[in-house]
Structures are given as structure tokens and as C-alpha cells.
């Protein structure tokens, strides 16, 4: 027996036998209030692979540009640092945090939420991490960043000769596996998991 209330219209909903593998929607406003996530093991594997994709991108060049015989290759770290050279701090901070820092922090938070749940540690210490996760979740925009990489490459191709390097492919894989991790992870399941453990 699970009692909850619809986030979107406030209706009180009683579910006789709550099943974590089913999707539930509100009888009054039809909005989905529970969507099952993938198993924690799968999420953990995806999060770890995202980390593995990220480490080499720091050192490998992401692309080489040639304008009038002069070529120049950029690594991700250089690109992020270059943001801060020109004094466009606001844009620089937003673009680099959405593309790099928020994904890394989110992956770290997801892993540190799942691993204790798997080994059955108490929740008390996890409350803070969970709240950080909830506050950060709306700012996770990896899918938008992926498309903007594609658009930027098409735009640059019109101005200079471009050679895409290994770092860019790895970075795209990093964003993709991060996106999969976030969409598979259902933070609410964490609490259902602990509730089931108590029963």
C-alpha cells in the first residue's frame, strides 16, 4: 500500500500494490507521476563507462583547424581554459559547467548514491547528496550540448579546414553515456529501495 499525491494537480492517490516496474499516471490530470528507472547495476555501469570516456579527452586533441596554411589543434582542457582568457566570464562559466563540470558532478553524485544503497548502508548521510542531486538535475543539458557540437562543426567547416580528432569522438561518447545514465537513473527508486529493505 503506497499513498502519494500528484505533483501536478494535488490529487491524493492510493495504490494497493505498488510495483516498481510499472508506470503510474494521475487519474485526474493524466500526468505520469511514477516512471520506472533501470536497475541500479545498469546505471552504475553506464556511469563508470562515462568516466572512462572522459579521462582520455583531457589530454587528446579534439580537433585541428587549418586557416591559410596555419594549423592549430585544441584539447578540451585548452578549450575550457580559453573561455576565461577573453573576459567573457558569464558565457564561459555556463558553457564549461554544462558541458564538463555538471556532468562530472552528477556522475559522482549518482555513483555515491547507488553504491551505498547496493551495500546497504544507512540513508542518514545520503540525504545531503540526494538534495544536491535534486537541485542540479534541471541543469543537466548534455543532449543540447551534443547537438550544439554538431552545429558548431558545420559552421566552422565553412570557415576553415577541419580535422576531427579522437578527443572529440571520446567527448561525444562521454556526453552520450552520461545522458543515458541520467535518463536511466530514477532517484525516487532509491527511497523505494530503502523502504523495501525496511519491510
Amino acid at each position: 500500500m503506497k499513498e502519494t499525491s500528484c505533483k501536478d494537480c494535488g490529487l491524493i492517490i492510493e495504490i494497493e500494490h505498488f510495483d516498481m516496474t510499472h508506470q503510474y499516471s494521475c487519474p485526474r490530470c493524466q500526468s505520469i507521476f511514477y516512471r520506472p528507472g533501470e536497475s541500479f547495476d545498469l546505471v552504475l555501469v553506464m556511469a563508470l563507462s562515462a568516466f572512462l570516456f572522459f579521462i582520455p579527452t583531457l589530454f587528446l586533441p579534439i580537433l585541428t583547424l587549418t586557416i591559410m596554411g596555419q594549423s592549430h589543434s585544441v584539447t578540451l582542457l585548452e578549450a575550457v581554459l580559453f573561455f576565461f582568457h577573453d573576459g567573457y566570464y558569464v558565457i564561459a562559466i555556463i558553457a564549461s559547467s554544462v558541458g564538463v563540470f555538471i556532468p562530472l558532478v552528477m556522475l559522482f553524485l549518482i555513483m555515491s548514491l547507488i553504491i551505498p544503497a547496493k551495500i546497504g548502508r544507512p540513508i542518514k548521510k545520503l540525504k545531503k547528496l540526494f538534495l544536491y542531486y535534486e537541485h542540479l538535475a534541471p541543469w543537466s543539458m548534455a543532449e543540447v550540448y551534443l547537438i550544439s557540437i554538431f552545429v558548431a562543426i558545420v559552421k566552422l567547416a565553412g570557415m576553415a579546414t577541419l580535422k576531427l580528432d579522437a578527443g572529440l569522438y571520446l567527448f561525444v561518447f562521454f556526453l552520450l553515456s552520461y545522458y543515458v545514465t541520467v535518463s536511466w537513473f530514477n532517484a525516487e527508486d532509491l527511497w523505494n529501495h530503502y523502504d523495501e529493505m525496511e519491510d
Partner: protein
């Protein structure tokens, strides 16, 4: 008893009528009077505090920022000494004139159509609450879900400009700089996202 679409229905049981409080972080139901969720430790309230006032504030700020964002150059390309600024619409026209209809359309939708649509929806939602239009609540909620999903896509153009600025760094030959529109556009998008976060859709159903 209330009338919806001419049909008399039983009054629904809601969190307000039953005196319950829902935690928006972990979705645990509490009784009235608690200030903190016992399960996850988040602050809890029946309706988001000063939701309508905050939504108005952010949505008006976003509208004001959208004006310079569309009139000023988004990015300035300097190549061999000549400066060339381009606004959002000029960027769209660039892709259309180069027969890149797909990309032109994506940028037009993401940076012109979507921000305007989102702001109009937020104004509409606020009017539903203010004018107590209970029968419009279901439509309002659908629109609210839509702007929630497409909200972040307006950041697309900002990221494109930022990526290009960081990748093209030829001293003397060619540089790309962000224009004045980039920051105002960024502010408009972020304020719209905050406005939708602050809006509590349950207020539409309470009337």
C-alpha cells in the same frame, strides 16, 4: 460538488482538502504541520512558497532580456581585419542561403520560436491562476509539461557560440568573439527555466 464540462462530479480528494503535504524531492506524503521531510530531509510545503510572485518576476525579467538578445549581434567574426557581427536571425538566414535548411530550421526553432512560445505559455499559466479558470487547467498543465521538456533546447545557440569562440583562436588571422546578445539571450533562457521551476501547477487546480 463542482461542474466540469457540464458534468457534475464528486469533489476530488486533494492534499489541501485532506490536510497532507507532499515532499517534491522524494514524493513522500506527510501530514500538515511538518516543515522537513522525514525521509530525505528536504523542505516541504503544500504549495511552493510565493510561487506566483516569483514566477511573475522571472518571466518579466526574461521578456526584457529577450529584446536586446534579438537585436544585437550574437557573435562577431574578425577575419583579416574586418569585423562581421551577426544576429540570431542573420545566422538563420546564413544557413538557409547555403541550402542547409535542416540546421537553419533547428536554430530558428531553438532560438526564436521556442523562447517566445515558452514565455507566452508562462504568461498564460499565470492568467489561468489569476482569473481562476479551473476548466483551462488541464490544457495549461499539458503546455506546462511541453515547456518543461523543450526548455533547455534554447541554450543551443549559446553553446554553439561558446564552442566556436573556444575552438577558433588564431592570433591575428581570425578570431570569434561573443556579441552583446549572447549574455542577454543566456539570461533570458535561464530566467525562463527558473520561472517554470518556480511555478506550481497545482495552483491551477485549486480554484
Amino acid at each position: 460538488m463542482r461542474k466540469i464540462y457540464g458534468i457534475t462530479m464528486m469533489k476530488w480528494k486533494t492534499d489541501i482538502s485532506e490536510g497532507r503535504v507532499l515532499c517534491l524531492s522524494c514524493e513522500e506524503l506527510h501530514s500538515l504541520g511538518d516543515n522537513e521531510c522525514q525521509r530525505c530531509g528536504a523542505e516541504i510545503y503544500q504549495r511552493k512558497p510565493s510561487s506566483i510572485a516569483q514566477t511573475w518576476g522571472y518571466v518579466i525579467a526574461a521578456t526584457l532580456f529577450l529584446i536586446p538578445a534579438n537585436l544585437m549581434p550574437m557573435m562577431v567574426v574578425t577575419s583579416l581585419g574586418s569585423d562581421e557581427g551577426s544576429t540570431i536571425m542573420e545566422g538563420v538566414i546564413y544557413f538557409l542561403s547555403h541550402k542547409d535548411y535542416g540546421l537553419g530550421l533547428i536554430i530558428f526553432i531553438a532560438s526564436v520560436a521556442v523562447p517566445v512560445f515558452k514565455l507566452s505559455v508562462v504568461y498564460y499559466l499565470l492568467l489561468i491562476v489569476h482569473l481562476k479558470q479551473r476548466e483551462k487547467a488541464l490544457l495549461g498543465l499539458k503546455l506546462f509539461h511541453i515547456i518543461h521538456i523543450i526548455g533547455k533546447w534554447s541554450m543551443l545557440d549559446i553553446f554553439v557560440v561558446a564552442l566556436m569562440v573556444s575552438m577558433v583562436q588564431f592570433q591575428g588571422l581570425a578570431t570569434i568573439q561573443t556579441g552583446a546578445a549572447a549574455i542577454s539571450f543566456c539570461a533570458a533562457v535561464i530566467f525562463t527555466i527558473i520561472a517554470t521551476e518556480k511555478f506550481d501547477p497545482r495552483l491551477m487546480f485549486d480554484n
